[in-house]
């Protein structure tokens, strides 16, 4: 075996036949090397995708399908109408159906959409969406076939004028490619939309971490969607729309210079079609206009006319460019790549599901973290039918998707825990991290790339700039709550005080009669008079009064 020529730049080429040399170990070892399909990888590591406990497998499956349905409807400007049904097949297996009125999936791509991991339309788009990685629904298919042995059945109709197709398919894990088992028409299928039916090992439960809770919260943060759920006991719950207007469609944007990484930048420089650095900068990034571009090049000491490919060879130059990105003031990325729920709709969604005495919502401006635009919305509701006893109810939402697990590991929780709720007139027992009382805190993080702690998307990672924004949003809403609570208390106090002073005055007049022999009725009338004429003000105002010093002597 001879080495390739020194110094040449060569593509690696795996040779099929290995030469038998006198270095048996490495050669033997090399024979075992092979590529692993991503489907095999996730089949083995399905807990990473949220398929671990049996109740959770059901929630994850419903969640992935509903996320896809909502994304597809919104992209197609359709008001979503989603139907979910869960039935028991036997002690072990549940049958799950999720049907939407979305655009349907084109015949040619359908098998890969459902039957291939890491296949999707949103991975490279810088824009807020629920699904992103092209893993979710295929992972559900993978899990279903692994535990039930059965293929999944997909029905889809992309136009009322066209027939509805029914496919039965599996994933070939060795190749990560779909395997169609059957293909058919369904004449009874609704006018347009997609239906997926899976059999899987799973358990249906109720309570805090359940399909029902997930759907309820999904309805709150997607007030434009109607969601119908039929549970295994054939009970039907409909979460009605709170509004008939679709959220503004998020626009795909270019990457923002803040937080872009060196390797990514080099890759972009290498692969661009632009001939000059100046046009590369203006055309490849969001918010780099002519003036900004000039400032950046000057700061980085780079010639705007140089070829991007040349710069890619000069690591030091690229580093200077990176530094200039940070130093030169660049506008925040456009907000329209994100789709906030907005305060009004958050209010509507919440009050559709809860009777509350007070509600405050906050939408923070768009911010950037690691080159990804994000924004935070918060809502605080108080009183009404919210549980008075326990600690605060926290609802965590990421790109309009409720997060159900690992509350303790989430940046939203941590940000809320940073706050001293006593400052906002809430009760917070010593040592408790959360306020107590009938309070509900909902936080929505929208981002082109939400930084989850793991692929099962349970918790948002503690990125400082994100946690800070969450804290700001919650604090802003909490300030409203604090004012509301203070006013409530003040009004109550003033009523009490007036009543109290009347009673005191009667009692005082009698004491003064005992002390001086003057008639108490006369004294009382005089006291009332003085009070009315000169001293009512202090009852209303909380004017701090110079207190008599307490008898604070020791011993």
């Amino acid at each position: 075996m001879t080495p390739a020529k020194a110094g040449t730049k060569a593509e690696a080429k795996v040779e099929a036949k290995l030469p038998k040399a006198d270095s048996p170990i490495a050669v033997e070892l090399a024979k075992k090397q092979k590529a692993i399909s991503v489907a095999e990888f996730f089949e083995k590591n399905r807990h990473m995708l949220g398929f671990d406990s049996l109740p959770r497998c059901l929630i994850t499956c419903v969640k992935e399908a509903v996320d896809n349905a909502l994304d597809a409807c919104e992209e197609s400007q359709i008001l979503p109408d989603i139907y979910i049904r869960v039935r028991k097949v036997d002690e072990r297996i549940l049958n799950v159906v999720i049907e939407d009125n979305g655009p349907g999936v084109q015949k040619d791509v359908l098998p890969r959409v459902f039957g291939k991991l890491l296949y999707g339309s949103r991975f490279h788009a810088i824009r807020q969406s629920r699904g992103q990685q092209g893993i979710g629904i295929s992972a559900a298919v993978l899990y279903a076939q692994l535990t039930s042995g059965k293929p999944v059945r997909i029905t889809s109709r992309i136009d009322p004028k066209l027939p509805a197709y029914v496919y039965e398919l599996k994933i070939d894990t060795q190749t990560n490619e779909p395997k169609l088992l059957s293909e058919n028409y369904d004449d009874f299928f609704t006018s347009r939309g997609t239906r997926i039916e899976l059999n899987m090992e799973a358990t249906y439960v109720r309570g805090r971490q359940s399909v029902m809770e997930y759907l309820k919260n999904t309805a709150i943060v997607n007030p434009h969607a109607r969601i119908t759920f039929v549970d295994p006991y054939d009970e039907r719950v409909i979460f009605e729309r709170a509004c008939d207007v679709l959220p503004k469609q998020p626009i795909e944007i270019k990457p923002h210079p803040h937080g872009i990484e060196l390797g990514t930048l080099i890759k972009m420089l290498q692969s661009t079609d632009n001939l000059k650095l100046s046009s590369f900068l203006s055309l490849s990034f969001a918010k780099i206009g002519g003036h900004t571009m000039d400032s950046i090049c000057k700061e980085a000491n780079l010639d705007p006319a140089m070829a991007p490919q040349d710069l890619a060879q000069d690591i030091d130059g690229v580093k200077r460019l990176m530094a200039a990105f940070q130093k030169i003031k660049i506008q925040a990325p456009p907000k329209d790549c994100l789709s906030p729920i907005t305060g009004d709709l958050l209010k509507k969604g919440l009050t559709q599901n809860h009777r509350v005495d007070f509600i405050s919502t906050v939408s923070r401006p768009v911010n950037v973290s690691r080159g990804n635009p994000f924004l935070v919305e918060a809502a605080i509701a108080y009183g009404g039918d919210i549980d008075t006893e326990g600690r605060a109810e926290i609802y965590r939402i990421a790109n309009r998707v409720p997060l159900m697990y690992q509350q303790g590991a989430c940046a939203i929780t941590h940000a809320i825990e940073r706050i001293n709720w006593k400052n906002y007139n809430m009760e917070q027992p010593k040592g408790a991290k959360m306020p107590q009382g009938p309070i509900m805190i909902m936080v929505h993080v929208a981002s082109t790339n939400v930084p989850f702690t793991s692929e099962s998307k349970d918790a948002i990672a503690d990125i400082p700039e994100l946690e800070d924004e969450i804290e700001l949003a919650v604090r802003e809403a909490a300030r409203d709550l604090g004012r509301y609570l203070a006013e409530q208390k003040k009004a109550l106090d003033a009523r009490k005080k007036i009543k109290m002073f009347e009673a005191y005055t009667k009692e005082l007049a009698i004491a003064l009669q005992d002390l001086t022999g003057k008639d108490h009725a006369v004294i009382e009338a005089q006291l009332r008079d003085v009070l009315a004429k000169k001293f009512t003000k202090f009852i209303d105002t909380d004017e701090p009064v110079k207190q008599e010093a307490a008898n604070d002597s020791p011993q």
Partner: protein, 366 residues
């Protein structure tokens, strides 16, 4: 009603009249209250007393934070007035509290809920009328007993001979003012105040007071008002030495200082209830060596003791060199010793050795 009572009743009536004056003038009704916070307490080196200063504060009626307290003040003023006028028997301050505790119609609350609310106002009234609580016909539970060469005519008409009080000694009555407790004869050479009853009892059994012709008094620990006022009277009326004998620990030292100079929280009472002539006879750190007090009687000072020592060392009335040295010695020594522990030398050691030696050698300080 005695002349003194009449005087007090007049002062209380004047308080009411002043308030009525404010009302008629359309002013916010108020009374002047002498502050009793630490900032208005000072040690008067000349008299050797802890005294209350002249700082006053107005208590207003039309003030959210003060209205109730103002009302309570008037209630207590009128109640004391009524009790004195009707010549009622003396009450405890808890009983006075109960005579006034009732619901204020329409307010949904009581005039007083806790005795902690009425007690400081009684003190206010003592200051307003410049009198002792006992003169307002209010008493605290006395605890002390005493024996020795003294004859007293009680208000009841009984004549009490404190050399003939048996093994129990004579009890200190709640009110020891001359009208109530008139000392007819008193021939002691000195007065010995003992912190603890067990030590008093041992000395009493051995007729220490007879052998040494002294008055032997104990307040059973921290003295109550009556024992302090009685010692103050002795101090004023008889020019004989007064010795205080306590445990060797900050608590014992402080008991001595209460007898001698008064206390911070009853600073307004000091002038009438402290005995600046009292001397500290022991136990003192240097006694440990001089009297060879055995190691097993020593008890390690704990954190609380050390903390209390720091506090005491910072009081003005402990600033004298002798006391600063004593406190420093105790800290260095690291152990406290109870007066009871002297029995470990011998049962008679206190009566026959310790006290006689201390007095003969003038081995006391103040």
């Amino acid at each position: 009603m005695t002349a003194r009572s009449k005087e007090i009743v007049e002062k209380l009536t004047q308080v009411g009249e002043d308030v009525l004056g404010d009302i008629k003038a359309g002013k916010n009704p108020s009374i002047d209250i002498t502050m009793r916070s630490l900032s208005n307490v000072y040690y008067d080196e000349k008299s050797g007393l802890i005294k209350l200063g002249d700082d006053k504060q107005k208590r207003y009626y039309f003030n959210l934070g003060q209205a109730k307290k103002f009302l309570q003040t008037m209630l207590i003023a009128k109640q004391i007035k009524i009790l004195l006028e009707q010549d009622k028997p003396a009450l405890s301050i808890r009983q006075l509290f109960y005579t006034l505790k009732h619901e204020i119609p329409g307010a949904g609350e009581n005039t007083f809920d806790l005795q902690e609310e009425s007690d400081p106002i009684i003190e206010d009234m003592e200051l307003v009328t410049n009198s002792l609580r006992e003169e307002l016909n209010l008493i605290a539970t006395p605890n002390g007993v005493l024996s020795g060469p003294m004859v007293v005519e009680d208000k009841t008409g009984d004549v009490l001979d404190f050399t003939k009080m048996g093994s129990a000694g004579g009890a200190v009555p709640p009110i020891v003012e001359d009208d109530f407790f008139h000392i007819k004869e008193m021939s002691a050479d000195y007065i010995l105040v003992v912190e603890k009853y067990a030590v008093w009892n041992l000395l009493n059994q051995e007729k220490y007071w007879k052998k040494n012709n002294c008055l032997l008094l104990t307040g059973k620990g921290q003295p109550a008002r009556a024992e302090r006022r009685l010692l103050a009277r002795f101090g004023e009326e008889y020019k004989i030495p007064i010795y205080v004998f306590t445990d060797m620990d900050p608590w014992g030292y402080y008991i001595y200082s209460v007898y001698k100079s008064g206390s911070i929280n009853l600073a307004f009472f000091s002038e009438k209830a402290a005995c600046p002539r009292a001397k500290y006879i022991g136990l003192s750190v240097k006694d440990v060596r001089e009297f060879d007090i055995p190691r097993s009687s020593w008890v390690k000072l704990n954190d609380e003791d050390f903390k209390r020592m720091e506090e005491i060392a910072s009081y003005d009335w402990f600033k004298k060199d002798k006391w600063q040295k004593e406190l420093a010695d105790l800290k260095k020594f690291g152990y406290k010793i109870e007066q009871d522990a002297l029995v470990s030398k011998s049962i008679e050691f206190t009566a026959n050795n310790y006290l006689p030696a201390k007095i003969e050698n003038k081995d006391y300080f103040d």
